[in-house]
């Protein structure tokens, strides 16, 4: 059975709403933030943003900066070793939803 793009999006929206409502979204996000911080990802990305923004005069628009640093940030994620931990937390939350 093939699932349409629309159905996928609608499913995602429902699951996300439940996760936000029961607090799991914020908790997992905070855990992810802490792990990324410990791995040095947050500091590295902040530094790249800052150094990039410094070079531009007049100041860059936020969207331009965001577009320039998103690929760099994603690249750095390769070094992030705790991906499995976060995926396990998300799985646990989704399983709890499916059961109820």
């Amino acid at each position: 059975m093939t699932v349409s793009e629309e159905q996928l999006q609608s499913l995602f929206a429902q699951l996300q709403k439940r996760m936000v409502d029961n607090g799991d979204w914020d908790k997992i996000l905070l855990t992810l933030t802490r792990e990324l911080n410990e791995a040095g990802w947050i500091d590295e990305v902040k530094n790249q943003c800052k150094e990039l923004a410094k070079q531009s005069n007049p100041p860059m628009s936020f969207q331009v900066l965001l577009d320039a640093t998103t690929p760099i940030a994603n690249e750095q994620l390769v070094l992030f070793k705790k991906k499995g931990l976060i995926e396990a937390l998300i799985r646990k939350s989704l399983d709890a939803q499916v059961e109820s």
């Binding site: 929206a13 996300q16 709403k17 936000v20 409502d21 029961n22 607090g23 799991d24 979204w25 914020d26 908790k27 997992i28 996000l29 905070l30 855990t31 802490r34 911080n37 410990e38 791995a39 040095g40 947050i42 500091d43 590295e44 902040k46 530094n47 800052k50 150094e51 100041p59 628009s61 936020f62 969207q63 070793k81 937390l89 646990k92 939350s93 709890a96």
Partner: protein, 549 residues
């Protein structure tokens, strides 16, 4: 510690927001902004630290109806939207509304500038609103008291007159220190004090005035002098000669021109400042050192046979960590702290249980932080003395990865001991909540890095340098050489000591210091004695007059 932009530098370029704040929309805009900021803090806090059965409301995008964990709110109407799909910006364009905000960070976006803007008014509103909400959410663990509310300083008449003719000079601390003969260990520690905001504020506000101090060989006077020199605006490297001389006289073990351990000097300096501070005491001292650096370490010893636990609380001025990584992964500050707070099995000879009185038994000891200091100093134990012979010592060069910001909650007694008993009533259904059992708010546990002391080379043949942050810029200090650098360079360096300062300070209610009270009562007593002497003299004069008659 928010970085308030300097208006005179012209960095506040958005005139649209300035105009709007001068017009009739001011109240509505600021009101909406404050409500959104408070609401966002409260919602995130309730999600992560559930203590009541409060329903967590989640807004949806006005355009695509997707749930928004990170909404961007229009400041003119009730619309919220997502950023990534461009909906909030389209809303601003189509409605002609100018401003929206990100209530998580308090940043305001101006559609006419097509950029996020800097505005001191909104920064102030955000800080105040979030702080107020945090204060209401702070729970003491031992009493039912509420947290002391922050009161911003307002100048009274005395202050205004004093400041009227004062000349404002820029706050510049980027000055190198001359090496006076293997004194790089001294220079790096001094730079870490110079860039310590609490120490800086204490000395620059004249709390220890070297002109009126009556101590001899006073370390506080030397610091008062040092701060005046560093912040004078002169950029020629300064030689802390009198400081060195005073230090030698006060701690003879540090005298001489041999290379010393920076950490050893750091502790000696803390003790010297404490000893020469006005009103310092041996118990519950209120001096600048103890209010800045003092925390409490909780040590719990458990007898594995009968489960009896004994705990002690010790004062700590800093934390010394063994350098170790988590099995296969690299050493991080987090992994070192986890090792520090891990239960450790003690040999049965070292402990005898008072309850079960049987031997032999297994005993575990666990450390945790009971009270976090405003400035957290961390030392990595790099110099291993394997034998009593100091020359056989080895240096541990393992790099430790440390962050620019850290949340210390996982290492506090509350969390390490598995959450307070009965402290959390009505816990909401725990899904991922096991990781956040402490009552929060998180701001109380958050620290920012401001200085790093590095050591390169061997124990007896090495060199100390340091990094320090001035506002949001990092600088590298190598004795007299000061160079601008980046955070990345600092985080890559061979760190020996790291200094973190709390992002948000919490306050006790103001109390006049004991020595001031004593001084005032002394003055009153002195006046009384003078009066009595005067009366005595008058009596004698009267008697003399009577005698002659």
């Amino acid at each position: 510690m928010s970085d308030i932009s300097d208006q005179s530098e012209g960095s506040e370029r958005c005139t649209h927001i300035v105009e709007a704040l001068e017009g009739p929309e001011k109240v509505a805009l600021s009101g909406k902004f404050k409500t959104a900021s408070t609401w966002y803090f409260q919602r995130t806090h309730d999600s992560i630290h559930p203590s009541k059965r409060r329903k967590v409301a989640s807004p949806t995008c006005g355009t695509c109806s997707v749930t928004l964990p990170r909404p961007f709110v229009c400041l003119h109407c009730s619309y919220s939207g997502c950023w990534t799909r461009g909906h909030i910006r389209s809303h601003l364009r189509t409605t002609g509304h100018f401003f929206c905000a990100d209530p998580k960070t308090g940043r305001v976006f101006c559609s006419q500038c097509d950029n996020f803007i800097l505005n001191t008014t909104f920064e102030g509103l955000f800080s105040t609103a979030v702080l107020k909400a945090e204060e209401a959410e702070t729970r003491f663990q031992v009493t039912k008291k509420t947290r002391e509310a922050y009161k911003p300083w307002t100048s009274d008449e005395k202050d205004t007159t004093a400041l009227k003719d004062a000349i404002q000079i820029p706050c510049e601390s980027r000055r190198g220190l001359l090496n006076l003969g293997q004194t790089c260990f001294l220079n790096v520690v001094l730079q870490s004090f110079i860039h310590n905001p609490l120490l800086r504020n204490y000395f620059l506000s004249g709390k220890h005035n070297r002109a009126t101090c009556k101590n001899t060989d006073c370390t506080c006077c030397e610091f008062d002098n040092l701060f005046s020199e560093i912040y004078s605006g002169d950029t020629v490297p300064y030689g802390p000669i009198s400081f060195l001389a005073t230090t030698w006289r006060a701690s003879s073990e540090l005298s001489g021109y041999a290379q010393r351990d920076a950490h050893e000097f750091f502790i000696a300096a803390l003790n010297q400042i404490h000893a020469t501070s006005r009103g310092s005491t041996n118990v519950s001292c209120n001096c600048i050192i103890h209010t800045t650096f003092l925390g409490q370490l909780h040590s719990e010893v458990k007898c594995e046979r009968c489960g009896n636990t004994t705990s002690t609380v010790d004062p700590m001025l800093d934390i010394s960590l063994e350098v170790e990584g988590d099995k296969d992964s690299e050493a991080t500050l987090g992994s070192c702290l986890r090792r520090f707070t891990k239960p450790e099995t003690l040999g049965s000879k070292e402990y005898s249980c008072s309850k079960c009185k049987q031997a032999p038994h297994q005993v575990t000891k666990q450390l945790s932080i009971r009270e976090l200091p405003p400035v957290l100093s961390v030392q990595f134990k790099r110099f291993e003395h394997r034998t009593a012979d100091k020359t056989a010592a080895k240096k541990i060069d393992t790099r430790v990865r440390f962050p620019a910001a850290i949340n210390m909650a996982p290492y506090t007694t509350f969390v390490v001991s598995g959450g307070g008993k009965g402290a959390m009533k009505g816990k909401a259904k725990a899904s991922a909540s096991e990781s956040f059992p402490y009552p929060g708010p998180d701001a109380l546990y958050e620290y920012d890095l401001f200085a790093v002391i590095c050591h390169e080379g061997q124990i007896d043949n090495g060199h100390y340098t340091n990094f320090a942050r001035f506002r949001q810029e990092w600088y590298r200090f190598d004795d007299e050489k000061v160079t601008p650098t980046t955070l990345t360079q600092c985080l890559k360096s061979p760190a020996y000591m790291c200094f973190y300062v709390k992002k948000h300070l919490d306050y006790k209610p103001y109390m006049t210091p004991t020595y001031v009270l004593i001084r005032e009562t002394e003055i009153v007593k002195e006046r009384q004695r003078e009066k009595e002497k005067e009366l005595e003299r008058m009596k004698e004069v009267d008697n003399d007059i009577l005698a002659t008659i």
